[in-house]
């Protein structure tokens, strides 16, 4: 948190959650992005649920932590635990599966309700290599994305299409948002900030008090 707000020379740490029904290809998408491999037997990673990616955008170092989430319906209620405090969300649907797009709509509603405009949304229509079986019309999807303030991308993990662009775009938008919020944060908007400030003073007081009594101990030690 401190690192994300640190700005300047510090890394920007962003948390991005991947949401979407099971079997829409979330895992393939992220593996393609991080390892540039698809259905490969030679993957170096043991797991594909938490992945790191370091980027450099316009001289700013960005560290993406990509959190995969369990897509099964029965874990739906756990969503808020996953996307709490995340900076971005990538909502994946399968262009051949109308239901998965419906799911994305539900997620969007939920995210906007819980996190408001703080989160950058990206909607990914995955499996464009199966264009002939498309069940979600392009126009519908793009129109919907625009209406909720999300960017829509056509991706294919198999053909490595649109993935790099999508992550880059979401990173840029998160950077902009962090840049916007930084000055506001440092002024100290939240109640938490003010309490901490009050406590800082107390810590200093105690420390000074302590210095007189503990100084001897320090020098002897």
């Amino acid at each position: 948190m401190s690192a994300a707000g640190g700005g300047g020379g510090r890394n920007h740490n962003f948390k991005v959650v991947l949401l979407g029904e099971g079997c829409v290809g979330k895992t393939s998408l992220v593996l393609r992005y991080v390892e540039n491999k698809f259905n490969d037997k030679h993957l170096t990673t043991l797991q594909a649920s938490f992945l790191d990616k370091k980027l450099n955008i316009g001289g700013k170092r960005v560290h993406l932590a990509i959190w995969d989430t369990a897509g099964q319906e029965r874990f739906h209620a756990l969503g808020p635990i996953y996307y709490r405090d995340s900076n971005g969300a990538i909502l994946v649907y399968d262009i051949t599966d109308e239901d998965s797009f419906q799911k994305v709509k539900n997620w969007v509603k939920e995210l906007r309700k819980m996190l408001g405009q703080d989160i950058c949304l990206c909607i990914a229509g995955n499996k464009t290599d199966l264009e002939k079986d498309r069940h979600v019309p392009v126009a519908d999807a793009e129109e919907y994305a625009a209406s909720v303030g999300a960017k829509h991308f056509h991706t294919s993990a198999k053909l490595n299409r649109g993935i790099e662009e999508m992550f880059l775009d979401v990173s840029k938008r998160m950077l902009d948002k962090a840049g916007d919020e930084n000055p506001r944060n440092s002024v100290g908007g939240g109640g938490r900030q003010s309490t901490s400030r009050k406590n800082v003073v107390i810590v200093d007081d105690d420390a000074q008090q302590h210095q007189s009594s503990g100084g001897g101990c320090c020098s002897s030690g």
Binding site: M1, S2, A3, A4, G6, R10, N13, F14, K15, L18, G22, K26, T27, L31, K41, L43, T45, L46, Q47, A48, S49, F50, H63, A65, W67, D68, T69, A70, G71, Q72, R74, F75, A77, L78, I81, Y82, R84, D85, T195, S196, N199, V200, I202, V203, D206, A207, H210, Q211, G214, C218
Partner: protein, 508 residues
């Protein structure tokens, strides 16, 4: 053998009632028969009652009555009451700013007790001190000054709620984080060093304060622990198939990984610092990933696989004080650790698991409510109990049987190969013989007696018959000899012409 037998022999006399009434006695009745035992027992009981009566009389004289029933519990209640009394007292005294003397004394005693550090604190403290030695002196002094102030602050106010403690410590992390970046004392620290410094501070502070803030009196963590523990126990029948976790638990190699994952998650409770607890969670998760990888053709597992597997592991492990540990980590860990990074992700998954277990119902296991109720009430036994849920002993037995059958196969293979080898040896021998025979028939060899060496120098009886060796004699003029010697110089055969000369001389 026979002696041992004799020793156990009991004659009839010993079997009879001790009272000598003629009936058989029983060791359970101390050797009496049932009738005599009842009498005896009644006597003892009456005597006991009398003694009790006397005791009661004695106690009535003294005002302190022992309400016998549950002394430990009442004591606990008393303690709790005393603590809360003291709390209100100290809060008041804080406002009044006049602390009575005995409270101060109590606090001193408490601080003394705290000063006797546990071995964990000492270890962490040593590591921290080593690290600080590498920093510049003013920076190290500043750090230790702040930490001491914080620990003192918390230890002096043990009676505030755990949320206030959490607030204090979180504020400390934040202010120290800012201080490391802005204060001139810390100029020149690299990012990695300051991150390390933050880690060390967190570790040291939390190890020191662990007892004061973990599972605190002023929270309901303990009850929550018991609730989740009971809940997990009641869900013991949930199998990996119910959860659709793709772990083949009965595979020995996978089972070993699952066991280590279970050990890791249980181990979390024994660690003190938040990062150590998180490290246990990470280790557990990595073992789960290995197990998943071993169960499904080496594909990296996604969250879809991981979460059910983690639920299964938690249900199997029933980790002690799960809620307390989770709350402790959320309250006292450096927030940046939980926000990003692997540990944060796995910890979030663990929180999800707890939420899932709490709200688990028939629907989340894809079964009918009747079925679910049946399992919960114990009326139904998991249908895959034979292959799915086997107890440790059976599992070991199956594993051993598998090992034995493998051993047998290997043994049979070795035996077969040995037999083949033997046969080959016999064949080789036969062939060898045959070949020799055939060669012998082709070229018949007569074996001549071996030639004996003749030793010419050996003493043999024949030598006696030989004439005695000749003795050289010098005959004739020296001139001849000289001439001969000059001759000898030119050739190697010096002695022979000489000998011949002498020989001729002898013959002459």
């Amino acid at each position: 053998m026979s002696q041992g037998h004799k020793r156990f022999h009991i004659n009839e006399q010993e079997l009879l009632c001790k009272n000598g009434c003629g009936f058989y006695g029983n060791p359970a009745w101390q050797g009496f028969c049932s009738k005599c035992w009842r009498e005896e027992y009644q006597k003892a009981k009456n005597a006991q009652l009398q003694i009790d009566e006397q005791n009661k009389m004695m106690k009535q004289k003294t005002p302190v009555g022992a309400e016998g029933k549950a002394p430990s519990f009442s004591k606990f209640e008393e303690k709790k009451k005393r603590e809360s009394d003291k709390r209100t007292h100290t809060v008041k005294s804080l406002f009044r700013k006049s602390s009575s003397k005995d409270i101060a004394a109590e606090q001193v005693a408490k601080r003394e007790a705290m000063k006797r550090l546990s071995s964990e604190s000492q270890q962490v403290g040593e590591g921290f001190a080593d690290f600080l030695r590498n920093l510049s002196k003013p920076a190290a002094l500043d750090v230790s000054k702040h930490i001491r102030a914080l620990i003192e602050k918390i230890q002096q106010n043990p009676d505030v709620t755990v949320d206030e403690h959490s607030e204090i410590i979180q504020d400390f992390y934040q202010s120290m984080g800012d201080r490391l970046q802005t204060h001139p004392v810390y100029k020149g620290l690299t990012h990695t060093t300051s991150d390390k410094l933050m880690d060390y501070m967190e570790k040291y502070i939390m190890t020191r304060l662990y007892r004061a803030v973990f599972c605190s009196m002023w929270s309901d963590d303990e009850e929550q622990d018991l609730i989740i523990q009971k809940r997990i126990r009641s869900l013991h029948w949930v199998s990996e198939q119910n959860l659709e976790a793709s772990i083949s638990v009965n595979e020995p190699s996978v089972r070993a990984l699952v066991d280590s994952a279970i050990t890791d998650i249980i181990e979390m409770d024994s660690k003190r610092a938040p990062q150590d607890k998180l490290a246990s969670v990470v280790r557990c998760s990595n073992h789960i990933f290995e197990a998943l990888k071993a169960s499904q053709n080496n594909e990296p597992a996604s969250a879809d696989d991981f979460l059910p597997a983690l639920i299964y592991i938690v249900l199997q492990a029933n980790p002690p004080r799960l809620q307390s540990n989770i709350k402790y980590i959320t309250r006292f860990s450096n927030p940046s650790r939980l926000m990003s990074g692997e540990a944060g992700y796995y910890f979030t998954n663990l929180c999800c698991v707890v939420a899932f277990i709490e709200n688990l119902n028939a629907e989340s296991l894809n079964m009918t409510p009747e079925e679910f109720e049946g399992y919960m009430s114990g009326k139904l036994v998991p249908r895959d109990s034979k292959e799915g849920h086997i107890c440790e002993g059976l599992r070991l037995m199956y594993q051993n049987l598998a090992n034995l059958s493998e051993l047998r196969q290997r043994h049979e293979k070795v035996m077969a190969e040995a037999m083949q080898l033997q046969q080959e040896i016999v064949e080789f021998k036969e062939n060898f013989k045959k070949e020799i025979q055939s060669v012998l028939t082709k070229n018949p060899w007569t074996i001549k007696p071996r030639k004996t060496k003749v030793d010419l120098d050996a003493e043999s009886p024949a030598t006696d018959m030989l004439p005695p060796p000749l003795i050289p004699q010098i005959v004739g003029e020296p001139m001849v000899v000289q001439h001969d010697q000059s001759n000898a110089n030119s050739t190697d055969m010096t002695t022979e012409p000489h000998v011949t000369v002498t020989d001729t001389a002898v013959e002459e």
